[in-house]
Amino acid sequence: MSIKERRKKAASIHTDSEREEKRGSFGYSDSFLFKFMFRYMTPYRAELILVSFIMLLFAMTTAVGPIVLMAAINRFTGDSTAGLFGIDFIDNPVEDLIAFIQTTFSLSTVWAEATILSIIYLVVQFLVFILNKKQINMIGSVGLRAELAMRLDMFRQLQELDLSYHDKNEVGRIMSRLTSDLTAIREMLGGQVILNIANLITVVIVMVVIYSIDPVLSLVPTIFIPIVFAIGVISRRYTRERRKETRRTNSIMMANIGESIAGIKVTKGHNREGQNIEFFRGLNEANRKATIHADDMNAIFFPILLATSFLGIAFIVLVGGIRLLDGLLTIGVLVAFLNYNIILFRPVILLGQFYQQLQDALTGAERVYALLDTKTKVPMNRDYPDLPPIEGEVLFEKIKFEYVPGTPVYQQFSLMVPAGHVVAFVGKTGAGKSTIINILSRMYEFQEGVLKIDGRDITNYSLQSYRRQIAAVPQDFFLLSASIRENLRLGDPQASEEDMFKALEAVGLEEYVRSMENGLDTPLQERGGRLSVGQRQLIVFAAVLLANPRILILDEATSSIDVFSELKIQKAIKLLLADRTAFIIAHRLSTIRAADTIVVIDEGDIVEQGTHDELIQLQGHYHELVKNQIQLAEVT
């Protein structure tokens, strides 16, 4: 396989982001997605009702505005012979008013009418302005609040999902769902939907008006409007797929940007900038193609919509002209129709446009819902009983575990750890030490067997209550870019400043932290940058000290700490290990030796188990390991 092909494969797999990758549908129906989106609007029912009411008024006034204008034009051109608007129930009161003004101010008829019409028009437009503003504001904030809630739900879901999900989905890829996809939904919920309901109402009102003026001529728009809608529906078939492809390529691109920045140091060290840029170009290109492809649908669709409205004009001229010749129509009515055509088609065109946005929103909803719909394999079980305060006895019973289906790391892992015992896992790299920790801290779900704490099956209790009684320092620990204080709070959110300094002192960092410009409040950079790696481990260690858990898990927690610091924290470790259950993974003998039980892991099973002395006597794996280490320590 050439490097290029390999690249391609990498880009397309980009770890199998499962369903997203299957370019087709996620398998939700549109009506379902609608329901999903509108569920987030239901808390704002009152606002929605109010907005709908405003929209009704808005639609009416929008329709009235042009009618008044028409009347004014007709008046001035002297074409109108009939009533002012041609609609009796409006004409009568208005004419009374005109008569009144005419007599009071002694104006000529035309001027009185012109004045009154302008006033009506301006009042109406002012109403439109007020209502529209109010409406945009209200629905906009409702949309934003729906977005807010949706994003929070997604975030919660992400906290809930176990690591097997996070392993497969790059940060950037997930982020695209909480950003671009949500934006599309917000745009629809926060305005477009309501606006277009208003448009629909406007269309109906104008149709009624038109019909009451000349039923025959009104046939023209009556025929054209359904055609426009039909075009919209047909275009959906092509639009949706293309929209999806833009989102997909977008999320891949986003993942790549995120990763490229996170790995910038490696990139620089290996002079890889050029290749990275080329790789990104491919993703960028894919997104460009997809977007042009999708947007071209609009480029075809809209001009057709506009053209139908012009064709409407042509037909009005044709039909209206003939009827004019036949004396069935005045010229004023014809002009009015031409104008109504414009007024009528404006919302229709907007509706067509809305249809496209709707596709966008649905595409977003699909991707958002797919995330929310993903089942975590390790549920939080918030509604389960809390695990009562534990002693710390841990029992693994015939646990089968696999990261990748079909390649189990453990077939039948069994281990009993009495409360208060310190267990050290040793074994070659990749033997499966961290995996045990992952099982114990419930990062991944095991496939078979039982995990019992104090004889209680852990799956029957709320996960939160369990995790709060254990503290784990994963091999890839991570410091937040927040202050040191925030990071220490990972261990205990309630810890006082005094406690924090005590913990820092125990790990030998107190002085250093005090010397930093803002002490505990000194912000760290991403991933704890601006501390040396060893210092970061010490901070995590301090957090663990604060957590004061019943079960303690340290996965290579001191690997980057120098011998002196380690000696310094030896006391802290001893304190920490005393009278609690602890699981330790380390390669350093000094750390291992202190354990009550040493468990040697090899090839997915426990091969030896016992105290240091027992295992040395055994002359097996552990003996070999110790021998190796001592030989390595020999400096000549």
């Binding site: 007020i130 840029i277 002209g321």
Partner: protein
């Protein structure tokens, strides 16, 4: 506005032809759109005069023809706009990515992944508005306006002039509200970026969050950012609301004024009723796109805020500049020198102080020192990830700042303390940055790093794609892949920064044997917290609080009071309780002296 032109101008220039076709089609579309009401008016006038059906049919066909012209031009216009937009976006994104790739580490100390991601994705994405329809619509309105104006001048010069006032008003309002609104939009964008930052961080550190069971606290923290974004966007909603509805109101105000004035003129007989109708049709016609003027104002202001955020990336100073006359570093012997080097981090002065050091080519050096003593900082200077505050770093006696970064780094291989892998096949991760690599080379490097056997147990072997940052590998496996990556690079200067910390002693021993061969002809620096590294180095350098405190061979330093002695004593203390008898491979256990 200026920011937008400055940002987009050069890119649009690159796609002149598309831009030209966009403008030409727009002019034609506007023309046919203006001709339609003109034809209508003309036809109606003639119906009145000739009372003849053929006039109607003629008019009908002209309008249909114009409609089709409009259809074609509108499509052309939109096709061009799409391409213009996507090409410009493509270019900008590519340039952004390139700029970011060429920024040095110091830049990333102040910019988070989340903010950068929202800049390169969202901000660039928002340019789409102005490029796909903002410009097109503005141009269309402009030409419709010009066309209408020309037609109107024939009808009545005075009314045409009055008609001119309206757009001036609109432009003035957009401009005047701009300064304040751009700030609001910018703020919303910034908050969005900050939210992304929290999100990105949470997702990256999800395992730690879970380990401490801090999901709820994280959710609360995230929601604060979410809320902040919500609040700042709420303000932009207000802007949207006033601007869009306000513009429509203004336009209708203008229309009614025109109707009234027109009415007066008709009354006074200055213009004919027919002319008046044509006039009004034009006004109405233009009011359709005119309703979008409010949106236009918004996207202009919004784009401006995006342009500001983007220019912050483009205009960020390059901290570490290559000299204009930088030369390529080609043949390297491998002599390494530090002359009076001091180094300060922005917030941490004295990370390294007055370092003087000469490491001759081929020498193997162990760098020892307590946590935070400045070991990683020192080696970062060699690859010029940072520049020393004072003094200079030399290779073969020449200041490294006079070489191009690329050529310099080609000769330096660093295995960083934190192993980072990319979401790529293992093969590509090892071959990272090197082109035309054969599978044999990759395998050789993997074998030296003791990772080949493991890779072969994977179903897809070297083609296995690792998770982001390499999460699907164990800690030691990841470290070994990064070692292989550096070995393949075949650098003249090899640096290992605590790169076997997660590897078991047995494997470590084998790696070390391989390294002993690999480093034979190379200058090598090893940082390790384990004594094993000391076995085959020629020299030991001890760093404490940013200062070199000891420098010598094991024999020289072993019994001199100092950190090294303490270090060795501590290590021996840790294993003292064991008494090996290698011949019998038998271990007797002594009592621990504690």
């Amino acid at each position: 506005m200026r920011e937008i032109f400055e940002l987009l101008g050069p890119y649009v220039k690159r796609h002149k032809l598309i831009f030209l076709s966009l403008n030409v089609t727009t002019i034609f579309a506007a023309t046919s759109q203006i001709l339609i009401p003109v034809t209508v008016n003309y036809t109606i006038d003639r119906i009145d005069r000739f009372q003849n059906r053929s006039v109607i049919i003629q008019g009908f066909f002209i309008i249909v023809l114009l409609t089709f012209m409009d259809l074609i031009f509108q499509m052309g216009q939109r096709f061009s706009a799409n391409r213009l937009a996507q090409n410009v976006i493509f270019d900008i994104r590519q340039d952004l990515f390139q700029t970011l790739q060429h920024q040095e580490l110091e830049y990333y100390a102040s910019e988070s992944v989340g903010q950068i991601m929202s800049r390169t994705i969202e901000e660039v994405f928002s340019l789409r508005d102005i490029l796909t329809w903002g410009y097109r619509l503005t141009a269309l309105i402009f030409w419709l306006f010009v066309g209408s104006f020309i037609v109107m001048v024939q009808v009545s010069l005075e009314m045409a002039l009055i008609f001119l006032i309206l757009p001036i008003f609109l432009v003035v309002i957009t401009k005047r509200s701009s300064a304040r609104n751009v700030k609001l939009f910018y703020d919303a964008r910034f908050k969005y970026g900050a939210m992304n930052e929290t999100l990105a961080e949470n997702l990256t550190g999800i395992q730690t969050v879970k380990s401490f069971g801090r999901e709820d606290e994280q959710t609360a923290a995230f929601n604060i950012k979410n809320q902040e974004f919500y609040e700042s966007s709420l303000k932009t909603v207000g802007v949207r609301a006033s601007l869009t509805s306000g513009m429509i109101f203004l336009i209708s105000f203008g229309i009614i004024a025109l109707v009234l004035i027109g009415g007066v003129y008709v009354e006074q007989g200055r213009i004919s009723p027919g002319n008046f109708i044509a006039f009004m049709l034009l006004v109405l016609q233009i009011s359709i796109p005119g309703r979008f003027v409010g949106f236009l104002g918004i996207i202009i202001q919004n784009t401006q805020s995006a342009a500001l955020r983007l220019s912050e990336i483009f205009e960020a100073p390059v901290v570490l500049e290559e000299k204009p006359d930088a030369e390529s570093l080609d043949d390297v012997k491998g002599d390494l020198g530090f002359e009076n080097v001091s180094f300060d981090y922005p917030k941490k002065p004295g990370a390294l102080e007055n370092i003087n050091l000469i490491i001759p080519a081929g020498q193997k050096v162990a760098l020892l020192g307590p946590t935070g003593s400045g070991k990683s900082s020192l080696i970062n200077l060699i690859a010029r990830f940072f520049d020393p505050t004072t003094g200079k770093v030399t290779i073969d006696g020449k200041d490294i700042s006079q070489f191009t970064l690329k050529s310099l780094r080609k000769h330096i291989g660093i295995v960083h303390q934190e192993s980072f892998l990319f979401t790529l096949p293992i093969f590509d991760n090892i071959a990272f940055g090197k082109e035309n690599v054969t599978i044999d080379e990759v395998e050789a490097a993997a074998k030296a790093a003791q990772i080949h056997d493991f890779i072969m147990t994977l179903e897809d072997g070297y083609e296995t794609i690792v998770g982001e940052r390499g999460v699907t590998l164990s800690g030691g496996e990841r470290q070994r892949v990064t070692i292989a990556r550096t070995l393949l690079h075949n650098p003249k200067i090899l640096i290992f920064d605590d790169s076997v910390s997660a590897v078991d002693p047995e494997t470590e021993g084998r790696i070390q044997n391989a390294l002993a061969t690999a480093s034979e002809t190379r200058t090598t620096i090893i940082i390790s917290q384990r004594p094993s590294s000391l076995r085959y180095v020629d020299r030991i350098i001890v760093l404490d609080l940013g200062v070199i405190t000891q420098d010598g061979t094991h024999a020289e330093l072993r019994n001199v009071d100092g950190i090294y002695k303490n270090f060795m004593d501590a290590i021996e203390g840790q294993i003292k309780f064991l008494d090996w008898d290698f011949d019998e491979s038998q271990v007797k256990i002594k009592e621990m002296s504690d």
